[in-house]
Protein backbone atom coordinates (compact mmCIF):
# COMPACT_ATOMS: atom_id res chain seq x y z
CA UNK A 1 0.00 0.00 0.00
CA UNK A 2 1.40 3.36 -1.02
CA UNK A 3 1.62 6.57 0.94
CA UNK A 4 -0.17 9.89 0.67
CA UNK A 5 1.90 13.02 0.14
CA UNK A 6 2.05 13.89 3.83
CA UNK A 7 2.98 10.33 4.77
CA UNK A 8 5.82 10.37 2.24
CA UNK A 9 7.20 13.71 3.40
CA UNK A 10 6.98 12.78 7.08
CA UNK A 11 8.62 9.39 6.45
CA UNK A 12 11.43 11.08 4.59
CA UNK A 13 11.98 13.72 7.28
CA UNK A 14 11.73 11.14 10.06
CA UNK A 15 14.33 8.86 8.51
CA UNK A 16 12.03 5.86 8.09
CA UNK A 17 10.83 3.94 5.04
CA UNK A 18 7.16 4.53 5.59
CA UNK A 19 4.66 5.98 8.03
CA UNK A 20 0.91 5.67 8.32
CA UNK A 21 -1.76 8.05 9.58
CA UNK A 22 -1.97 7.80 13.37
CA UNK A 23 1.71 7.05 13.96
CA UNK A 24 3.74 9.41 16.12
CA UNK A 25 6.98 10.66 14.57
CA UNK A 26 9.53 13.36 15.28
CA UNK A 27 10.44 14.80 11.88
CA UNK A 28 13.59 16.80 11.26
CA UNK A 29 12.30 20.05 9.74
CA UNK A 30 13.86 21.98 6.87
CA UNK A 31 13.24 25.12 8.91
CA UNK A 32 11.36 26.50 11.90
CA UNK A 33 9.22 29.61 11.71
CA UNK A 34 8.11 31.87 14.53
CA UNK A 35 6.28 35.16 14.15
CA UNK A 36 6.57 38.43 16.02
CA UNK A 37 3.50 37.85 18.18
CA UNK A 38 4.82 34.79 19.98
CA UNK A 39 8.59 35.27 20.24
CA UNK A 40 8.23 36.91 23.64
CA UNK A 41 6.27 34.02 25.12
CA UNK A 42 8.66 31.39 23.77
CA UNK A 43 11.76 33.32 24.86
CA UNK A 44 10.47 33.84 28.37
CA UNK A 45 9.44 30.19 28.69
CA UNK A 46 12.84 28.95 27.58
CA UNK A 47 14.70 31.52 29.67
CA UNK A 48 12.79 30.43 32.77
CA UNK A 49 13.96 26.86 32.13
CA UNK A 50 17.55 28.01 31.66
CA UNK A 51 17.51 27.11 27.95
CA UNK A 52 19.43 29.89 26.26
CA UNK A 53 20.56 28.10 23.10
CA UNK A 54 18.45 26.93 20.20
CA UNK A 55 19.02 23.52 18.69
CA UNK A 56 19.44 24.89 15.19
CA UNK A 57 19.46 28.70 15.01
CA UNK A 58 20.40 28.53 11.33
CA UNK A 59 17.08 26.82 10.60
CA UNK A 60 14.99 29.45 12.37
CA UNK A 61 13.05 32.06 10.41
CA UNK A 62 11.79 34.86 12.62
CA UNK A 63 9.24 36.99 10.80
CA UNK A 64 7.62 40.28 11.71
CA UNK A 65 4.28 40.20 9.96
CA UNK A 66 1.54 40.43 12.58
CA UNK A 67 2.32 43.89 13.94
CA UNK A 68 4.51 45.63 11.41
CA UNK A 69 3.71 49.26 12.11
CA UNK A 70 3.78 49.63 15.87
CA UNK A 71 0.50 51.26 16.77
CA UNK A 72 1.21 51.28 20.48
CA UNK A 73 4.05 51.57 22.97
CA UNK A 74 3.46 47.92 23.83
CA UNK A 75 4.00 46.89 20.21
CA UNK A 76 7.22 48.92 20.02
CA UNK A 77 8.40 47.23 23.21
CA UNK A 78 7.66 43.83 21.71
CA UNK A 79 9.58 44.74 18.56
CA UNK A 80 12.60 45.69 20.66
CA UNK A 81 12.29 42.45 22.65
CA UNK A 82 12.17 40.41 19.44
CA UNK A 83 15.30 42.04 18.05
CA UNK A 84 17.17 41.29 21.27
CA UNK A 85 15.83 37.71 21.23
CA UNK A 86 17.13 37.23 17.68
CA UNK A 87 20.53 38.53 18.76
CA UNK A 88 20.73 36.34 21.87
CA UNK A 89 19.53 33.25 20.01
CA UNK A 90 21.84 33.89 17.06
CA UNK A 91 18.99 33.88 14.54
CA UNK A 92 20.36 35.28 11.29
CA UNK A 93 17.21 34.73 9.24
CA UNK A 94 15.34 37.49 11.02
CA UNK A 95 12.87 39.12 8.65
CA UNK A 96 12.02 42.13 10.74
CA UNK A 97 9.88 45.12 9.80
CA UNK A 98 10.28 45.88 6.11
CA UNK A 99 12.51 42.88 5.44
CA UNK A 100 10.32 40.02 4.33
CA UNK A 101 6.58 40.40 4.66
CA UNK A 102 4.00 37.74 5.42
CA UNK A 103 5.67 34.59 6.72
CA UNK A 104 3.23 32.39 4.84
CA UNK A 105 3.82 34.16 1.56
CA UNK A 106 7.36 35.42 1.03
CA UNK A 107 9.27 32.16 1.72
CA UNK A 108 7.39 30.56 -1.20
CA UNK A 109 7.91 33.55 -3.45
CA UNK A 110 11.62 33.76 -2.75
CA UNK A 111 12.53 30.11 -3.02
CA UNK A 112 13.12 29.39 0.67
CA UNK A 113 10.11 27.08 0.91
CA UNK A 114 10.26 24.52 -1.88
CA UNK A 115 8.39 21.42 -3.05
CA UNK A 116 8.85 18.40 -0.79
CA UNK A 117 9.91 20.41 2.25
CA UNK A 118 8.57 20.17 5.79
CA UNK A 119 8.71 22.83 8.49
CA UNK A 120 7.36 23.66 11.94
CA UNK A 121 5.54 26.92 12.59
CA UNK A 122 3.77 28.38 15.57
CA UNK A 123 0.90 29.50 13.33
CA UNK A 124 -1.83 27.37 11.77
CA UNK A 125 -1.69 29.19 8.45
CA UNK A 126 1.51 27.28 7.76
CA UNK A 127 -0.83 25.17 5.64
CA UNK A 128 -0.07 27.64 2.82
CA UNK A 129 3.04 25.53 2.19
CA UNK A 130 0.79 23.13 0.30
CA UNK A 131 0.55 25.67 -2.52
CA UNK A 132 4.10 24.84 -3.54
CA UNK A 133 3.89 21.17 -2.64
CA UNK A 134 5.35 21.35 0.87
CA UNK A 135 4.04 21.00 4.42
CA UNK A 136 4.13 23.36 7.39
CA UNK A 137 2.73 22.14 10.71
CA UNK A 138 1.31 24.35 13.41
CA UNK A 139 2.82 23.89 16.86
CA UNK A 140 1.19 26.77 18.74
CA UNK A 141 2.99 27.45 22.00
CA UNK A 142 4.85 24.15 21.60
CA UNK A 143 7.09 25.93 19.12
CA UNK A 144 9.32 26.48 22.16
CA UNK A 145 10.10 22.74 22.22
CA UNK A 146 10.95 22.84 18.53
CA UNK A 147 13.25 25.81 19.08
CA UNK A 148 14.99 24.11 21.99
CA UNK A 149 15.26 20.57 20.65
CA UNK A 150 14.93 20.96 16.89
CA UNK A 151 11.75 18.90 16.59
CA UNK A 152 8.53 17.84 18.29
CA UNK A 153 6.14 14.95 18.15
CA UNK A 154 3.65 14.81 15.33
CA UNK A 155 0.81 12.39 14.87
CA UNK A 156 0.68 11.67 11.13
CA UNK A 157 -2.63 13.14 9.94
CA UNK A 158 -5.14 11.26 7.85
CA UNK A 159 -5.48 12.43 4.27
CA UNK A 160 -8.62 13.17 2.31
CA UNK A 161 -8.60 13.73 -1.44
CA UNK A 162 -10.68 16.15 -3.47
CA UNK A 163 -10.61 15.76 -7.24
CA UNK A 164 -11.32 19.01 -9.06
CA UNK A 165 -13.23 18.56 -12.29
CA UNK A 166 -13.50 21.28 -14.92
CA UNK A 167 -12.22 24.85 -15.11
CA UNK A 168 -13.30 27.93 -13.20
CA UNK A 169 -15.06 30.44 -15.41
CA UNK A 170 -13.50 33.87 -16.08
CA UNK A 171 -14.07 36.17 -13.11
CA UNK A 172 -14.30 33.24 -10.68
CA UNK A 173 -11.26 32.94 -8.42
CA UNK A 174 -9.65 30.10 -6.48
CA UNK A 175 -10.69 31.95 -3.32
CA UNK A 176 -14.33 31.58 -4.41
CA UNK A 177 -13.70 27.86 -4.77
CA UNK A 178 -12.18 27.75 -1.28
CA UNK A 179 -15.27 29.33 0.28
CA UNK A 180 -17.44 26.93 -1.71
CA UNK A 181 -15.50 23.88 -0.53
CA UNK A 182 -15.68 25.01 3.09
CA UNK A 183 -19.42 25.52 2.77
CA UNK A 184 -20.02 22.14 1.16
CA UNK A 185 -18.02 20.46 3.93
CA UNK A 186 -19.93 22.34 6.63
CA UNK A 187 -23.24 21.39 5.05
CA UNK A 188 -22.23 17.76 4.71
CA UNK A 189 -22.52 17.93 0.91
CA UNK A 190 -18.90 16.91 0.50
CA UNK A 191 -18.39 13.82 2.57
CA UNK A 192 -15.01 14.72 4.02
CA UNK A 193 -13.92 15.68 7.52
CA UNK A 194 -11.14 18.27 7.58
CA UNK A 195 -10.34 18.27 11.31
CA UNK A 196 -6.64 17.46 11.61
CA UNK A 197 -6.68 16.07 8.08
CA UNK A 198 -4.51 16.86 5.09
CA UNK A 199 -6.65 17.92 2.16
CA UNK A 200 -4.94 16.69 -0.99
CA UNK A 201 -6.18 18.20 -4.21
CA UNK A 202 -6.21 16.21 -7.44
CA UNK A 203 -7.72 16.49 -10.90
CA UNK A 204 -7.76 19.56 -13.14
CA UNK A 205 -5.16 21.59 -11.23
CA UNK A 206 -3.04 23.01 -14.05
CA UNK A 207 -5.39 26.00 -14.18
CA UNK A 208 -4.14 27.15 -10.77
CA UNK A 209 -0.96 29.22 -10.53
CA UNK A 210 0.93 29.70 -7.26
CA UNK A 211 -1.34 32.53 -6.08
CA UNK A 212 -4.44 30.48 -6.84
CA UNK A 213 -3.00 27.45 -5.05
CA UNK A 214 -2.27 29.66 -2.05
CA UNK A 215 -5.89 30.81 -2.10
CA UNK A 216 -7.02 27.17 -2.20
CA UNK A 217 -5.09 26.50 1.03
CA UNK A 218 -6.87 29.21 2.98
CA UNK A 219 -10.45 28.17 3.65
CA UNK A 220 -9.77 24.47 4.43
CA UNK A 221 -7.42 25.74 7.12
CA UNK A 222 -10.26 27.67 8.72
CA UNK A 223 -12.19 24.38 8.69
CA UNK A 224 -9.39 22.90 10.85
CA UNK A 225 -7.40 21.15 8.11
CA UNK A 226 -3.87 20.59 9.42
CA UNK A 227 -2.40 20.57 5.96
CA UNK A 228 -3.37 21.21 2.38
CA UNK A 229 -1.44 19.76 -0.53
CA UNK A 230 -1.65 20.75 -4.17
CA UNK A 231 0.64 18.48 -6.20
CA UNK A 232 3.08 20.77 -8.01
CA UNK A 233 2.42 21.25 -11.72
CA UNK A 234 5.15 21.80 -14.30
CA UNK A 235 4.54 25.55 -13.91
CA UNK A 236 5.03 25.38 -10.15
CA UNK A 237 8.18 23.28 -10.47
CA UNK A 238 9.60 25.73 -12.99
CA UNK A 239 8.85 28.62 -10.61
CA UNK A 240 10.46 26.81 -7.70
CA UNK A 241 13.50 25.92 -9.80
CA UNK A 242 13.91 29.50 -10.94
CA UNK A 243 13.83 30.87 -7.38
CA UNK A 244 15.29 28.00 -5.34
CA UNK A 245 17.81 28.92 -2.68
CA UNK A 246 18.74 25.26 -2.24
CA UNK A 247 18.18 21.90 -3.94
CA UNK A 248 14.79 20.28 -3.56
CA UNK A 249 12.97 17.11 -4.51
CA UNK A 250 9.23 17.31 -5.12
CA UNK A 251 7.03 14.70 -3.49
CA UNK A 252 3.81 13.25 -4.84
CA UNK A 253 1.39 10.74 -3.36
CA UNK A 254 1.74 7.15 -4.51
CA UNK A 255 -0.87 5.97 -7.00
CA UNK A 256 -2.11 3.40 -4.50
CA UNK A 257 -2.14 5.70 -1.48
CA UNK A 258 -5.00 5.23 0.96
CA UNK A 259 -7.33 8.15 1.69
CA UNK A 260 -9.91 8.42 4.42
CA UNK A 261 -12.28 9.94 1.88
CA UNK A 262 -12.22 10.58 -1.84
CA UNK A 263 -14.52 13.22 -3.27
CA UNK A 264 -15.00 14.97 -6.58
CA UNK A 265 -16.19 18.48 -7.31
CA UNK A 266 -17.23 19.95 -10.64
CA UNK A 267 -16.19 23.61 -10.54
CA UNK A 268 -17.13 24.59 -14.08
CA UNK A 269 -20.41 26.26 -13.13
CA UNK A 270 -19.29 27.95 -9.93
CA UNK A 271 -20.33 31.58 -9.49
CA UNK A 272 -18.37 34.22 -7.55
CA UNK A 273 -18.94 33.52 -3.86
CA UNK A 274 -19.40 35.70 -0.80
CA UNK A 275 -18.75 34.30 2.66
CA UNK A 276 -21.40 35.81 4.92
CA UNK A 277 -20.36 37.17 8.32
CA UNK A 278 -19.47 34.39 10.74
CA UNK A 279 -17.22 32.08 8.76
CA UNK A 280 -15.71 31.01 5.48
CA UNK A 281 -18.17 28.14 5.49
CA UNK A 282 -21.16 30.44 5.08
CA UNK A 283 -20.69 31.11 1.39
CA UNK A 284 -23.48 31.99 -1.01
CA UNK A 285 -23.55 33.03 -4.67
CA UNK A 286 -22.60 36.70 -4.84
CA UNK A 287 -25.92 37.53 -6.49
CA UNK A 288 -27.71 36.79 -3.20
CA UNK A 289 -26.06 39.73 -1.44
CA UNK A 290 -25.17 41.99 -4.39
CA UNK A 291 -25.85 45.61 -3.61
CA UNK A 292 -25.04 45.45 0.11
CA UNK A 293 -23.35 48.76 0.97
CA UNK A 294 -19.78 48.54 2.34
CA UNK A 295 -17.48 51.09 3.94
CA UNK A 296 -14.37 49.03 4.72
CA UNK A 297 -12.41 46.88 2.29
CA UNK A 298 -9.12 45.03 2.49
CA UNK A 299 -7.05 43.00 0.03
CA UNK A 300 -4.23 40.85 1.36
CA UNK A 301 -3.72 38.18 4.09
CA UNK A 302 -2.22 34.72 3.79
CA UNK A 303 -5.05 33.70 1.45
CA UNK A 304 -4.86 36.53 -1.06
CA UNK A 305 -1.61 38.45 -0.70
CA UNK A 306 0.37 37.17 -3.66
CA UNK A 307 1.48 39.43 -6.50
CA UNK A 308 -1.14 38.02 -8.87
CA UNK A 309 -3.89 38.91 -6.40
CA UNK A 310 -2.62 42.48 -6.28
CA UNK A 311 -2.31 42.57 -10.06
CA UNK A 312 -5.94 41.50 -10.37
CA UNK A 313 -6.98 44.38 -8.12
CA UNK A 314 -4.76 46.95 -9.83
CA UNK A 315 -5.94 45.96 -13.30
CA UNK A 316 -9.53 46.62 -12.26
CA UNK A 317 -8.68 49.84 -10.44
CA UNK A 318 -6.70 51.39 -13.29
CA UNK A 319 -8.33 54.67 -14.24
CA UNK A 320 -10.99 54.27 -11.54
CA UNK A 321 -11.44 55.53 -8.01
CA UNK A 322 -12.91 53.74 -5.06
CA UNK A 323 -16.36 54.92 -3.99
CA UNK A 324 -16.75 57.85 -1.61
CA UNK A 325 -17.13 56.61 1.95
CA UNK A 326 -15.10 53.45 1.35
CA UNK A 327 -11.59 52.95 2.69
CA UNK A 328 -9.66 50.24 0.88
CA UNK A 329 -6.50 48.82 2.45
CA UNK A 330 -3.91 46.99 0.38
CA UNK A 331 -1.49 44.73 2.28
CA UNK A 332 0.97 42.98 -0.06
CA UNK A 333 2.16 39.59 1.07
CA UNK A 334 5.81 40.43 0.64
CA UNK A 335 8.31 43.21 0.27
CA UNK A 336 9.27 41.59 -3.02
CA UNK A 337 5.73 42.23 -4.25
CA UNK A 338 5.77 45.81 -2.98
CA UNK A 339 8.97 46.54 -4.89
CA UNK A 340 7.61 44.89 -8.02
CA UNK A 341 4.39 46.88 -7.69
CA UNK A 342 6.47 50.05 -7.57
CA UNK A 343 8.48 49.02 -10.65
CA UNK A 344 5.45 48.03 -12.67
CA UNK A 345 3.20 50.95 -11.80
CA UNK A 346 0.72 49.14 -9.55
CA UNK A 347 1.45 51.34 -6.56
CA UNK A 348 0.60 54.39 -8.64
CA UNK A 349 -2.71 52.84 -9.63
CA UNK A 350 -3.65 52.03 -6.03
CA UNK A 351 -2.70 55.46 -4.76
CA UNK A 352 -4.53 57.29 -7.54
CA UNK A 353 -7.59 55.14 -6.93
CA UNK A 354 -7.63 56.33 -3.32
CA UNK A 355 -6.53 53.06 -1.71
CA UNK A 356 -4.35 52.98 1.40
CA UNK A 357 -1.07 51.09 1.09
CA UNK A 358 0.01 49.05 4.09
CA UNK A 359 3.39 47.45 4.65
CA UNK A 360 3.77 43.80 3.66
CA UNK A 361 2.35 41.52 6.34
CA UNK A 362 -1.00 40.45 7.77
CA UNK A 363 -2.66 43.87 7.51
CA UNK A 364 -5.95 44.22 9.44
CA UNK A 365 -6.34 40.42 9.56
CA UNK A 366 -4.58 40.19 12.89
CA UNK A 367 -6.45 41.42 15.91
CA UNK A 368 -7.06 44.76 14.20
CA UNK A 369 -3.63 46.16 15.00
CA UNK A 370 -4.13 48.32 11.91
CA UNK A 371 -7.13 49.39 9.82
CA UNK A 372 -9.90 47.97 12.03
CA UNK A 373 -13.66 48.19 11.52
CA UNK A 374 -15.90 50.19 13.79
CA UNK A 375 -19.08 49.00 15.48
CA UNK A 376 -21.85 48.43 12.95
CA UNK A 377 -19.64 48.86 9.89
CA UNK A 378 -19.85 46.60 6.87
CA UNK A 379 -16.59 45.26 5.47
CA UNK A 380 -15.67 43.15 2.49
CA UNK A 381 -12.21 41.66 2.37
CA UNK A 382 -9.96 38.77 1.46
CA UNK A 383 -9.06 38.17 5.13
CA UNK A 384 -8.27 34.62 6.21
CA UNK A 385 -11.59 34.45 8.03
CA UNK A 386 -14.52 36.62 9.01
CA UNK A 387 -15.23 35.31 12.47
CA UNK A 388 -16.86 37.90 14.69
CA UNK A 389 -14.28 40.45 15.85
CA UNK A 390 -11.54 39.22 13.52
CA UNK A 391 -10.47 42.79 12.80
CA UNK A 392 -12.34 45.16 15.04
CA UNK A 393 -15.78 45.56 16.54
CA UNK A 394 -17.57 42.29 17.17
CA UNK A 395 -20.84 43.67 15.81
CA UNK A 396 -19.33 44.74 12.50
CA UNK A 397 -20.47 42.75 9.48
CA UNK A 398 -17.47 41.07 7.85
CA UNK A 399 -18.02 39.68 4.36
CA UNK A 400 -15.34 37.84 2.41
CA UNK A 401 -14.79 37.67 -1.33
CA UNK A 402 -12.08 37.11 -3.90
CA UNK A 403 -9.58 39.92 -4.63
CA UNK A 404 -11.59 40.73 -7.77
CA UNK A 405 -14.87 40.86 -5.86
CA UNK A 406 -13.42 43.06 -3.11
CA UNK A 407 -12.00 45.43 -5.71
CA UNK A 408 -15.27 45.65 -7.63
CA UNK A 409 -17.13 46.25 -4.38
CA UNK A 410 -14.72 48.98 -3.26
CA UNK A 411 -15.17 50.77 -6.61
CA UNK A 412 -18.96 50.52 -6.46
CA UNK A 413 -19.36 51.04 -2.71
CA UNK A 414 -21.50 47.95 -2.51
CA UNK A 415 -21.02 44.23 -3.00
CA UNK A 416 -20.54 43.86 -6.75
CA UNK A 417 -19.88 41.04 -9.19
CA UNK A 418 -16.36 41.54 -10.58
CA UNK A 419 -17.55 40.43 -14.00
CA UNK A 420 -19.41 43.75 -14.17
CA UNK A 421 -16.05 45.36 -14.76
CA UNK A 422 -14.52 42.59 -16.79
CA UNK A 423 -17.34 42.84 -19.32
CA UNK A 424 -17.42 46.65 -19.30
Amino acid sequence: MGMTAVEKVLALKSGVKSVRAGEVVEPDPDFIMIHDGVVMGAKRELDALGIDRLAAPDKVLMVTDHDVIYGSARAAERGAFNREAARQWGVKNFFDVGRGGHGHVFPMETGMLLPGMFYFDNDRHATNAGAIGAFGFRMGSEISRVLATGTNWVMVPKSVRLRIKGRLRPGVHARDLGFHIATLVAQGKLDIDLDYRVLEFAGDLDQFNLAARTALCSSPTEMRAYGVFVPPSAEILAYAQAHATRPFTPVYADADARYEADAELDVSRLEPQIALPGGVHKAVDLSEVAGTAVSHAFIGSCGSGMYDDLLTAATMLKGRRIAPGVRLFIAPGSEVSTRRMAREGLLQIFIEAGALMLPAGCGPCNDAVIGPVHSGEVSISTAANNNSGRFGARDAQLYLGSPATVTASAIAGRITDPRTFATG
Binding site: G140, E142, R145
Partner: protein, 185 residues
Protein backbone atom coordinates in the same frame (compact mmCIF):
# COMPACT_ATOMS: atom_id res chain seq x y z
CA UNK B 1 8.88 8.21 37.25
CA UNK B 2 7.55 5.14 39.02
CA UNK B 3 5.63 7.35 41.45
CA UNK B 4 3.32 8.61 38.73
CA UNK B 5 -0.18 7.28 39.18
CA UNK B 6 -1.67 6.21 35.85
CA UNK B 7 -4.73 4.69 37.48
CA UNK B 8 -7.42 7.03 38.75
CA UNK B 9 -10.30 5.96 40.96
CA UNK B 10 -13.07 8.43 41.63
CA UNK B 11 -16.47 9.70 40.74
CA UNK B 12 -17.78 10.18 37.23
CA UNK B 13 -18.69 13.64 36.00
CA UNK B 14 -20.56 13.10 32.75
CA UNK B 15 -20.97 15.70 30.02
CA UNK B 16 -22.70 15.55 26.65
CA UNK B 17 -21.55 16.03 23.06
CA UNK B 18 -19.96 19.11 21.47
CA UNK B 19 -18.93 20.88 24.68
CA UNK B 20 -16.72 23.78 23.48
CA UNK B 21 -13.61 24.79 25.36
CA UNK B 22 -14.62 28.45 25.46
CA UNK B 23 -17.64 28.74 27.73
CA UNK B 24 -18.28 25.02 28.04
CA UNK B 25 -15.07 24.25 29.90
CA UNK B 26 -13.77 27.62 31.01
CA UNK B 27 -14.96 31.21 30.47
CA UNK B 28 -13.75 32.71 27.23
CA UNK B 29 -12.38 35.80 28.97
CA UNK B 30 -9.72 33.65 30.66
CA UNK B 31 -8.71 32.21 27.28
CA UNK B 32 -8.62 35.56 25.52
CA UNK B 33 -6.83 37.07 28.52
CA UNK B 34 -4.12 34.41 28.17
CA UNK B 35 -4.39 33.16 31.75
CA UNK B 36 -2.23 30.06 32.19
CA UNK B 37 -1.72 29.99 35.96
CA UNK B 38 -3.68 27.11 37.50
CA UNK B 39 -4.51 29.25 40.54
CA UNK B 40 -6.36 31.68 38.27
CA UNK B 41 -8.07 28.97 36.26
CA UNK B 42 -9.18 26.36 38.82
CA UNK B 43 -12.03 28.46 40.36
CA UNK B 44 -13.54 28.86 36.89
CA UNK B 45 -13.54 25.29 35.62
CA UNK B 46 -17.06 24.61 34.28
CA UNK B 47 -18.07 27.86 36.00
CA UNK B 48 -20.61 28.82 33.32
CA UNK B 49 -22.42 25.49 33.39
CA UNK B 50 -21.81 24.24 36.93
CA UNK B 51 -20.69 26.94 39.38
CA UNK B 52 -18.73 25.56 42.32
CA UNK B 53 -17.57 22.46 40.45
CA UNK B 54 -13.99 22.98 41.56
CA UNK B 55 -15.03 22.82 45.23
CA UNK B 56 -17.07 19.65 44.85
CA UNK B 57 -14.67 17.59 42.74
CA UNK B 58 -11.90 15.52 44.27
CA UNK B 59 -8.56 14.34 42.94
CA UNK B 60 -9.13 11.13 40.99
CA UNK B 61 -12.54 12.11 39.68
CA UNK B 62 -13.08 11.41 35.99
CA UNK B 63 -14.72 13.70 33.48
CA UNK B 64 -16.43 11.59 30.82
CA UNK B 65 -17.59 13.42 27.72
CA UNK B 66 -19.35 12.74 24.49
CA UNK B 67 -18.15 13.50 21.00
CA UNK B 68 -16.13 16.54 19.90
CA UNK B 69 -15.12 17.71 23.35
CA UNK B 70 -13.21 20.92 23.91
CA UNK B 71 -13.10 22.36 20.42
CA UNK B 72 -10.24 24.84 20.06
CA UNK B 73 -6.51 24.25 20.52
CA UNK B 74 -6.44 26.00 23.90
CA UNK B 75 -4.88 24.73 27.10
CA UNK B 76 -6.55 26.80 29.82
CA UNK B 77 -9.24 24.35 30.89
CA UNK B 78 -6.88 21.36 30.88
CA UNK B 79 -4.45 23.24 33.10
CA UNK B 80 -7.24 23.54 35.67
CA UNK B 81 -8.22 19.84 35.32
CA UNK B 82 -4.63 18.74 35.73
CA UNK B 83 -4.15 20.93 38.79
CA UNK B 84 -7.26 19.41 40.39
CA UNK B 85 -5.96 15.88 39.79
CA UNK B 86 -8.80 14.96 37.45
CA UNK B 87 -8.81 12.60 34.47
CA UNK B 88 -10.53 13.06 31.12
CA UNK B 89 -12.19 10.36 29.01
CA UNK B 90 -13.78 11.46 25.73
CA UNK B 91 -15.75 9.74 23.03
CA UNK B 92 -13.84 12.04 20.71
CA UNK B 93 -12.07 15.35 20.72
CA UNK B 94 -10.52 17.45 17.97
CA UNK B 95 -6.89 16.39 17.67
CA UNK B 96 -5.49 19.77 18.65
CA UNK B 97 -7.66 19.80 21.77
CA UNK B 98 -6.23 16.38 22.63
CA UNK B 99 -2.75 17.69 21.97
CA UNK B 100 -3.40 20.65 24.26
CA UNK B 101 -4.58 18.29 27.03
CA UNK B 102 -1.47 16.13 26.67
CA UNK B 103 0.67 19.26 26.70
CA UNK B 104 -0.82 20.18 30.07
CA UNK B 105 0.05 16.80 31.54
CA UNK B 106 -3.58 15.77 31.86
CA UNK B 107 -4.39 12.07 32.03
CA UNK B 108 -6.60 11.81 28.96
CA UNK B 109 -8.03 9.20 26.63
CA UNK B 110 -9.99 9.84 23.46
CA UNK B 111 -11.82 7.68 20.92
CA UNK B 112 -13.61 5.93 23.81
CA UNK B 113 -16.66 4.87 21.82
CA UNK B 114 -20.01 5.26 23.62
CA UNK B 115 -18.29 5.99 26.94
CA UNK B 116 -21.11 8.31 28.00
CA UNK B 117 -23.62 5.47 27.58
CA UNK B 118 -22.04 3.31 30.25
CA UNK B 119 -21.84 5.78 33.14
CA UNK B 120 -23.74 8.47 34.96
CA UNK B 121 -22.52 11.37 37.03
CA UNK B 122 -21.64 10.07 40.48
CA UNK B 123 -20.76 6.50 39.43
CA UNK B 124 -17.57 5.05 40.88
CA UNK B 125 -15.07 4.73 38.04
CA UNK B 126 -11.61 3.27 37.80
CA UNK B 127 -9.54 4.20 34.74
CA UNK B 128 -6.05 3.06 33.85
CA UNK B 129 -4.80 5.55 31.29
CA UNK B 130 -1.71 3.47 30.57
CA UNK B 131 -3.59 0.50 29.16
CA UNK B 132 -7.04 1.93 28.45
CA UNK B 133 -8.96 -0.10 31.05
CA UNK B 134 -12.28 1.49 31.99
CA UNK B 135 -14.24 0.07 34.92
CA UNK B 136 -17.57 1.32 36.19
CA UNK B 137 -17.81 -0.25 39.66
CA UNK B 138 -21.30 1.12 40.26
CA UNK B 139 -22.71 -0.69 37.21
CA UNK B 140 -20.15 -3.48 36.95
CA UNK B 141 -19.20 -2.56 33.38
CA UNK B 142 -15.74 -3.03 31.92
CA UNK B 143 -14.33 -1.69 28.67
CA UNK B 144 -10.96 -1.52 27.03
CA UNK B 145 -10.30 1.73 25.18
CA UNK B 146 -7.31 2.92 23.11
CA UNK B 147 -4.66 4.01 25.63
CA UNK B 148 -2.29 6.91 25.17
CA UNK B 149 0.45 6.27 22.63
CA UNK B 150 3.65 5.26 24.43
CA UNK B 151 5.53 8.25 23.09
CA UNK B 152 3.12 10.68 24.74
CA UNK B 153 3.14 9.08 28.18
CA UNK B 154 6.43 10.65 29.11
CA UNK B 155 5.03 14.15 28.52
CA UNK B 156 2.14 13.45 30.88
CA UNK B 157 4.35 11.81 33.50
CA UNK B 158 6.50 14.92 33.51
CA UNK B 159 3.52 17.21 34.01
CA UNK B 160 3.23 18.45 30.43
CA UNK B 161 5.34 20.29 27.90
CA UNK B 162 7.15 22.53 30.35
CA UNK B 163 8.04 19.63 32.62
CA UNK B 164 9.22 17.64 29.62
CA UNK B 165 11.47 20.50 28.49
CA UNK B 166 12.82 20.94 32.02
CA UNK B 167 13.87 17.29 32.16
CA UNK B 168 15.25 17.37 28.63
CA UNK B 169 17.40 20.33 29.56
CA UNK B 170 18.52 18.78 32.87
CA UNK B 171 19.50 15.55 31.08
CA UNK B 172 21.47 17.50 28.50
CA UNK B 173 23.25 19.51 31.18
CA UNK B 174 24.08 16.33 33.08
CA UNK B 175 25.47 14.77 29.90
CA UNK B 176 27.58 17.86 29.26
CA UNK B 177 28.91 17.81 32.84
CA UNK B 178 29.81 14.15 32.43
CA UNK B 179 31.78 14.79 29.25
CA UNK B 180 35.56 14.79 29.89
CA UNK B 181 36.91 18.33 29.73
CA UNK B 182 39.23 17.61 26.83
CA UNK B 183 36.29 16.51 24.67
CA UNK B 184 34.48 19.79 25.03
CA UNK B 185 34.61 22.54 22.43
Amino acid sequence: MSAFEWKLKGRCYRLGHDVPHAGGVIPNRLIVGRHFDARDLVPHLFAETDPGFHERCKPGDIIVTGRNFGMGPKMNGYIAMQALGLGLVCESMPFLAYRAAVGCGLRVMTDCVNATEICETGDELEIDFRNGFFINHTRDIRREYPPLPDSLMEIIELGGNTGWLRKWHADRMAATDATPAQDRD
